[in-house]
Assembly symmetry: C3
Homo-oligomer: 259 residues x 3
């Protein structure tokens, strides 16, 4: 017997799991869309780290097939005037707060369509829109309910101010935009901007741009073009963030150096 | 082609995931009920924190649709004389140790039915009933095996002693029953008891009861009626637990204050 | 309507989840095998801990039903000359790096078949074979694509050097091979080797071999035959690793002692 394609929803939050908040969202989804497969993207985004959520989402949203619904609830402004959104972009759908979590998606999909989800009603708490607004909307979307039935057309979603790298004479200037679990420092300098340049400087140290981490000895600093196409600085079997005491926002320069 | 509704099981443990214990439970379930969707509720309950598990479960068990099977394995007494239970309550089913993890469920569902699961046999280890008892029983339940086929009728499940709030003259006295990931202090004082009272005191500090966290400035103390209907004290974009050095059991008072 | 059996894939990594790497792998799988259920085994293996991954996998791979595909990506040598493998063993399938993560599986299944997965091509990054090699291969395998279609026959997979316990006169000498979340010290001394011996020594302390943790008082040291059939040393409601300052590799002796 062939297996029918079930609806699929992903969840990205900063809730952790131990308090049962995430499970409540899953239950709400399962009650509305009983066949839905719910994939945890992450619940370990740092509390309130909207950029971290936006960055993570950028890495997976279009790896999922069209029809997938991505729920993002990193929402320090819950219950305030910030809008609740549902978005259709590139064949996927999204629900989450209008606080910048969709920045990378909207940058990639200029013709994204969005609506504002209503947040009134006795069933909607002031502090948990993940459970009361974003999860049920996502469940309806994955069942095929049209976006327009869930709310009124909206526009002008909030975007995070993500700096762009600047190419100058024989050098590209950028910043660290994300520090990952391994302490890798991911910059905003894309592969195309690098061209034949081969020296990377960050935190007062320099290293060569290589193919992969294992091209240097354990403990050594190395730069590579990472899996999203951006220059990143790592320590093999170690943490560049710890070694360089570098954080998001640290300056990164790629230049010619002494070959 | 319509998608059939698969059986659904949730897992709540204090196992973490890195040792493979949880995956062993999932494998046992998949071997018995190959179509079952297994949702992680959490594996990050503090080691041995039975109340934390009971609290988390209370937040999601009835959000899931009837027919869902909830497995709870926070079980410091595994292998001792404590019973292994399967419970049917409110249309959902449960498996787990008889140590109080079902307290809130049983409080909410007076006509819950329960059986004692056998723990003898060469296939049952003394230290991992999650894998050898609770997971296989849950898998059978989600396939429609009647509860009564899995064991003998039981009663008198252990309940945790959860304090009730006490309403006095113009004031309600309660305690913190849960501290969540954000450092929010959740009390046992329900919305109904609060009425028009508006001042909340905990840990030597007072604050006003507001609609949501964002009604105060970042770093300020605020009280709200949380997503489960209980008064909780938070710090916007911060941790009330850290600020007030308050833990589970700390006294909470809601009164009239100076309006 | 009966529910068809969906393909099932498990994921074991050291990626954490917050960076979106794991979700990217899930998306790749869902795009190729839309009906696949993806179970998280763990993403909390210590960074680069190949033995920890091998140990965890050993605990669940054959609990899952035949046909399951297990993906293991703890891969500090990604992009280097280490091979990428797909393995068929005991009715289950596996994808992951050739760095020892499959040691216990291959020890248990002498007739395992394996192929080398190609890692060339513009769609394969140098730093994220989890997304670009192991996840898509696993998705194809779970759809029924034969192993041989994914690469050329391979042999001689790397094995970790896991010490064996040694039985002497009235004593068995072994080592701690894994420390779990609870601080339990799991040895390589199997139940059969123990026979009637009853005293366990580790880290300068001794204790008796008992049935379960609850056979001693809280805070006391106890040895049991754990859920995988090996002697382990625990502290009831505490951590043996912390009490004894013992780590992987610590000597463990089981002998007769004074009964």
């Amino acid at each position: 017997m062939p297996v029918a394609t079930p609806p699929r929803i992903t969840l990205l939050t900063d809730f952790g799991t131990a308090d049962g908040y995430v499970a409540a969202m899953k239950g709400v989804i399962a009650a509305i869309a009983p066949a839905a497969i719910i994939d945890d993207a992450s619940h370990d985004v740092a509390a309130g780290d909207v950029h971290g959520a936006a960055w993570a989402l950028a890495g997976y949203w279009d790896r999922y097939p069209p029809g997938t619904v991505h729920v993002v609830v990193v929402d320090p402004g819950v219950g305030s005037v910030r809008r609740a959104l549902a978005v259709a972009a590139g064949g996927r759908m999204f629900t989450g707060p209008d606080n910048g979590v969709f920045t990378y998606v909207l940058d990639a999909v200029p013709d994204a369509v969005m609506i504002e989800l209503p947040v009134a009603g006795s069933a909607v708490s002031a502090t948990f829109h993940g459970r009361d607004v974003f999860a049920p909307a996502a469940a309806r979307l994955c069942l095929g309910v049209p976006l327009a039935q869930l709310g009124a057309a909206a526009s002008g979603a909030m975007r995070l101010d993500i700096p762009a790298a600047v190419a100058g004479e024989g050098a590209v200037h950028g910043v660290v935009v994300h520090v990952d679990r391994f302490g890798n420092l991911v910059s905003n300098i894309g592969q195309a901007a690098v061209g034949r340049l081969g020296r990377v400087s960050v935190g007062g140290r320099t290293c060569r741009l290589r193919h992969t981490y294992a091209d240097v000895d354990p403990g050594e600093l190395v730069a590579v073009v990472g899996s999203r196409g951006f220059v990143e600085v790592a320590v093999r079997d170690g943490s560049a963030a710890a070694l360089l005491r570098a954080q998001r926002g640290a300056a990164v320069i790629v230049d010619d150096g002494a070959r």
